[in-house]
């Protein structure tokens, strides 16, 4: 099929789909309406389990099993990237050359690194109380380490980021989530049921039963997964070179 014919086909199909979507939009409940039966029930359930952040309660208590699926997707994607971006037979590793960094950039990056790291850990730790949680905080914590790459160079980043350790921690935190789930079964309730721990006082760090623990496991998993992913991509960009003889 020529590009022109394909474009016409896309426009035709797109016009049909646009008409169907517009018709569907007109029949949806009005934007901003007051009727949210699932939302109201989720808020009531979260308050009953003394979790201040309803979204954390939905993710790690009411829909904890779905979050396990999401975690498996993340884990599988990281595994896929590690396999795809490995060093091939016709490639070799060049040790990265030390790079010149402007003094203000270096100073600013090294100043922000600990602040960003602590912010990430704070967002993970307060996931059950305030906006944020394991997913968001994990990404902040993982990217904060890469300020080392901006502020110094790749060799410095590799020293603060032993990839093997992060790969192992990634797997360990994924299994920690599963173990917490099975602990519910052993305690006589269901898989990932929030009955294991006392619910605590509303709006304190230890409230919400098993939610803070699952949240921390996810935070660790996401942080390690992002570090490993970025490491694989950076390796491709910085270290791995094709053999010149090809």
């Amino acid at each position: 099929m020529t590009r022109r014919a394909r474009l016409w086909l896309v426009l035709l199909g797109g016009a049909g789909l646009a008409a169907l979507l517009a018709a569907a939009c007109l029949r949806l409940p009005a934007f901003g309406g007051a009727r949210h039966p699932y939302g109201d029930r989720a808020v009531a359930a979260a308050l009953a389990r003394r979790t201040a952040n309803t979204i954390a309660s939905v993710n790690f208590d009411q829909r904890a099993f779905d979050t396990m699926g999401e975690m498996s997707i993340l884990f599988a994607a990281v595994l896929g990237c590690v396999v795809l971006l490995r060093q091939a037979r016709d490639e070799h590793r060049d040790p990265p050359r030390p790079a010149e960094v402007a003094a203000p950039v270096r100073r600013y990056a090294l100043l922000t690194l600990p602040v960003a790291l602590v912010t990430g850990l704070y967002v993970i730790a307060h996931g059950q109380l305030s906006p944020g949680g394991g997913f968001q905080g994990g990404v902040v914590a993982a990217t904060s380490l890469h300020l080392m790459y901006l502020g110094a160079d790749y060799a410095a980043l590799e020293r603060v980021r032993p990839v093997e350790a992060y790969e192992i921690t990634d797997a360990l935190s994924a299994s920690a989530y599963l173990v917490l789930g099975f602990a519910g079964v052993l305690a006589g309730a269901a898989f990932l049921a929030n009955t294991l721990l006392p619910l605590g006082t509303f709006n304190t760090l230890s409230s919400g039963g098993v939610v803070p623990l699952l949240n921390a496991a996810i935070g660790m998993e996401v942080a390690c997964a992002v570090v490993v992913l970025l490491a694989r991509f950076l390796d491709q960009a910085v270290e791995i070179e094709e053999e010149s003889g090809e």
Binding site: R3, R6, L7, V10, G14, L17, A18, L21, A22, C25, L26, L28, P29, A30, F31, G32, G33, A34, H36, Y38, G39, A42, V43, A46, L47, A52, N53, T54, I55, S57, V58, N59, R63, D66, T67, E70, I73, L74, A77, V78, G80, C81, L84, L85, A88, L129, S130, P131, G133, F135, F202, N203, V222, L229, R232, F233, Q236, E242
Partner: protein
């Protein structure tokens, strides 16, 4: 006015599809897929919105004192963002390998199989 957010979601999805179909570069195509996916964020958040409501977080407001938006779709959006990011990473890794093995990232030049 009450259908505008839904129409925006449909528009973002369609424009992403158009980009995917006419893309001449796999990296651009991965970006277009991310655009398609952001349509679902707009749709989900629009479905969960409630007039005059705030975030469903009760660390600084008393429960019941103010209406809150639907937390279920917000959690679904969070799932969506995470899955979208991992899919993007995986597709970009595939693009890196395609570029290495075939020397091109133009999908039109990747027609024939190579052993």
């Amino acid at each position: 006015m009450h259908v505008l957010p839904y129409l925006v979601a449909a528009y973002v999805f369609l424009i992403g599809c158009y980009g995917l179909a006419t893309s001449r570069n796999l990296i651009h195509a991965v970006g277009c897929l991310a655009v398609c996916q952001s349509a679902t964020y707009v749709l989900l958040l629009a479905v969960g919105y409630r007039d005059g409501a705030t975030a469903p977080v009760f660390s600084d407001i008393a429960p019941g004192s103010r209406p809150v938006v639907d937390p279920v779709v917000q959690a679904l959006t969070l799932t969506d963002v995470v899955v979208g990011a991992t899919v993007t990473a995986l597709l970009l890794a595939l693009t890196v390998q395609i570029s290495k093995r075939h020397g091109t990232v133009d999908p039109d030049e990747l027609r024939e199989l190579r052993g």
